[in-house]
């Protein structure tokens, strides 16, 4: 534990923290994860924290997020609240296998790893690293390890646990896995978890991650996901971010795709004070298909920042980015969509679109497409819009007797649905439609209820 003092740099503080806590970190994690820490710390020392105005974090003020007074705890947590009691898993319309992360650690109810139908393994990452070291080692830090982002190295150095999901060759997940990621404490707290999702050849994974804060303290999460889609594997990943507006969240997702695989991510950002989502996709085999999508509904002083990097490293691949948002009040944010088409990646199809509705004059959004194309036989398009609600459509609806407010909601809902309709699991799609509808109506509570479960 340490309290942050002003004068030394953030980097120094975390290097110090590592020196003083590395034993405790290691004891409460797994040897395989521990072997990566020292290297990561050296990397952090070299890279430092991202600074504002830099190429990747131009608008995100990472420093002030980390400068908040927050505890870091690496030992066994004592949580006095019965989380299962707060969470009522009684909504029948979405039937999932539920796993909990509390302050970055797997929430242990006796069983650290579960075997699901077909031999799917799911549960604690650190436990999996002990029980299946070969399996985990094959992927752990393989995709995040080459990142030039100091925050990823920071996570590798400190992360102790997270969720591991593994689908063996040809196995299709029946029920989606739901990961509820909870922050709860009696003081401000920082946590860094690490997830690893692996789908072997022809396997299928459906995963939904819900981020929540259950107490009114300042939280900061710096999490890393590594995702591996083997040949012809299908992965559908949905993330619902619904923390309170005093919390900050930085997510890094490294999605590695082999030949013929299909991976779709949908990040739905409903609440949260500061959100930065980094999505890296590497299309490492031909005919791989990627859909990276996001929807953000921001108001008051929320900051939302999505960064997507699609690396077309093989020919004949397809990628589509669709990010849409509604910015209200004095909310601000950024979207950066980078497409890299390597020289050999002929016959690439890469699309990108970022649409924003700015409801007030004070709302701000920066949209930056970045295309680097080195192949010549490529179809690539990008577009970005900043707009208001379509007044002609609004008048049309009102002229049929629909109230101004209701007409606006209908239009916004239609606008957001373009993203939601891509969520493949029907029950989840309907649930999210409902959540977004409530969010637009201002009826979604942003803290103590799990929106997924009790809505």
């Amino acid at each position: 534990m340490s309290t942050i003092t002003e004068n030394i740099s953030l980097k120094e503080q975390f290097l110090d923290l590592y020196r003083s806590s590395s034993k405790e970190i290691a004891v409460n994690s797994a040897p395989l994860m521990n072997t990566h820490r020292d290297k990561a710390i050296i990397k952090l020392e070299k890279l430092g924290f991202p600074s504002r105005g830099g190429e990747e974090y131009r608008y995100a003020d990472i420093e002030s997020v980390f400068k908040q007074d927050m505890e870091k705890s690496f030992g066994n947590q004592k949580i006095n609240i019965n989380i299962r009691e707060i969470f009522h898993c009684d909504v029948p319309d979405i039937d999932t296998n539920l796993f909990l992360l509390v302050n970055g650690m797997f929430y242990n109810n006796g069983q650290m790893l579960k075997e699901l139908p077909g031999g799917i393994i799911a549960g604690s990452l650190s436990q999996a690293a002990k029980d299946y070291p070969g399996l985990v080692e094959k992927h752990y830090d393989r995709y995040a390890g080459s990142s030039k982002d100091g925050l990823v190295a920071l996570n590798t150095a400190f992360a102790q646990d997270g969720i591991f999901i593994y689908a063996p060759r040809g196995v299709k997940m029946e029920k989606p896995v739901q990961i509820v990621n909870i922050m709860i404490s009696e003081a401000g707290l920082m946590a860094q978890h690490r997830n690893l999702f692996v789908a072997e050849e022809d396997a299928e994974l459906n995963i939904v991650v819900c981020d929540h804060s259950l107490s009114a303290h300042r939280f900061l999460t710096n999490s890393v996901n590594e995702v591996f889609a083997g040949e012809r594997a299908q992965i559908n990943l949905t993330r619902i971010q619904n923390e309170h507006n005093g919390s900050s969240q930085i997510t890094h997702s490294f999605n590695h795709q082999e030949t013929g695989s299909n991976l779709a991510t949908n990040i739905i950002s409903l609440h949260g004070g500061f959100i930065r989502n980094n999505v890296y996709v590497k299309l490492n085999g031909e005919h791989a298909e990627n859909h990276s999508m996001g929807l953000y509904l921001s108001d008051k002083g929320q900051y939302i920042d999505n960064f997507v990097f699609i690396d077309h490293a093989s020919p004949n691949c397809f990628s589509n980015q669709l990010y849409k948002g509604v910015m209200d009040d004095y909310a601000s944010g950024a979207f950066t969509g980078r497409i890299l088409v390597r020289r050999d990646a002929q016959k690439t199809n890469a699309y990108q679109s970022n649409n924003n509705i700015l409801l007030t004059d004070d709302a701000r959004m920066h949209s930056r497409p970045q295309l680097e194309i080195y192949a010549d036989d490529v179809k690539c398009s990008h577009g970005s819009t900043m707009g208001q609600i379509d007044e002609n459509a609004l008048f049309y609806l009102r002229s049929r007797g629909i109230d101004h407010r209701e007409a606006r909601l209908l239009l916004m809902f239609a606008y957001t649905h373009e993203v939601i309709q891509n969520i493949k699991v029907k029950a989840l799609r309907e649930r999210i439609d409902d959540l977004v509808n409530k969010r637009l109506r201002g009826e979604l509570s942003r803290c103590n209820n799990c929106a997924m479960q009790c809505g």
């Binding site: 008048f395 049309y396 002229s399 049929r400 007797g401 209908l410 239009l411 809902f413 239609a414 373009e418």
Partner: protein, 251 residues
Amino acid sequence: MLVIKDLRVSIEGEEILKGINLEVNAGEVHAIMGPNGSGKSTLAAILAGRDIYEINSGTVLYKGEDLLDKSPEERAKDGLFLGFQYPIEIPGVSMVNFMKTAINEMRKHRGEEPLSASEFLKKMREKKDLVEISSSLTNRSVNEGFSGGEKKKNEIFQMAMLEPQLAILDETDSGLDIDALRIVARGVNNLKSPHNATIVITHYQRLLEYIVPDFVHVLFNGRIVKSGGKELALLLEEKGYEWVRSEEVNL
């Protein structure tokens, strides 16, 4: 039902309606004709509550109340309907959801319970048959990917669903073939009653063979320069708008 007195309207400082006077009573059908740019759509939009115009002077009474003070949705709930010359495409809003919301908002306004799902679907079916619009259209987003003719039919479908007291149809006939024209006319005539009225804005007298007007007005350069019975439409067809233009010089 509708009394317009000396209505003057401008947009971006330019006067478009230059003193309109018009009275429409329950049970009547009025036709407004006039060349392009004369202000027909502007008049229709003003009546429906579009707020991009400046109203410089004049009054409009609808069922005895000041109309210009009311929001578009209040007017619609009071039974006023505008069939748009250029219906708007609204991707993502389904026709079904749109109509259900509209009908139930109106019912709420009248203190009635919302229609049940089956009542609503029954009504949809009935009106779809009336205007011969196919389910493949009503299952889509509002006007999305509809052809010009389909959009016009969809206006009539909405009118049939909402059963207005005063319908204003802005060039619903343009671009329609004879069959579609008959359907539009059927929609209008079906609504006809001693309590309702219709204003048909049209370019051609063709539609007026199917919807027989009680009065015809010629709108020219922001003014109603001529009013008469249905024979005025024929005269216009025969002599063209040039005839009005030369007449106007004499006004």
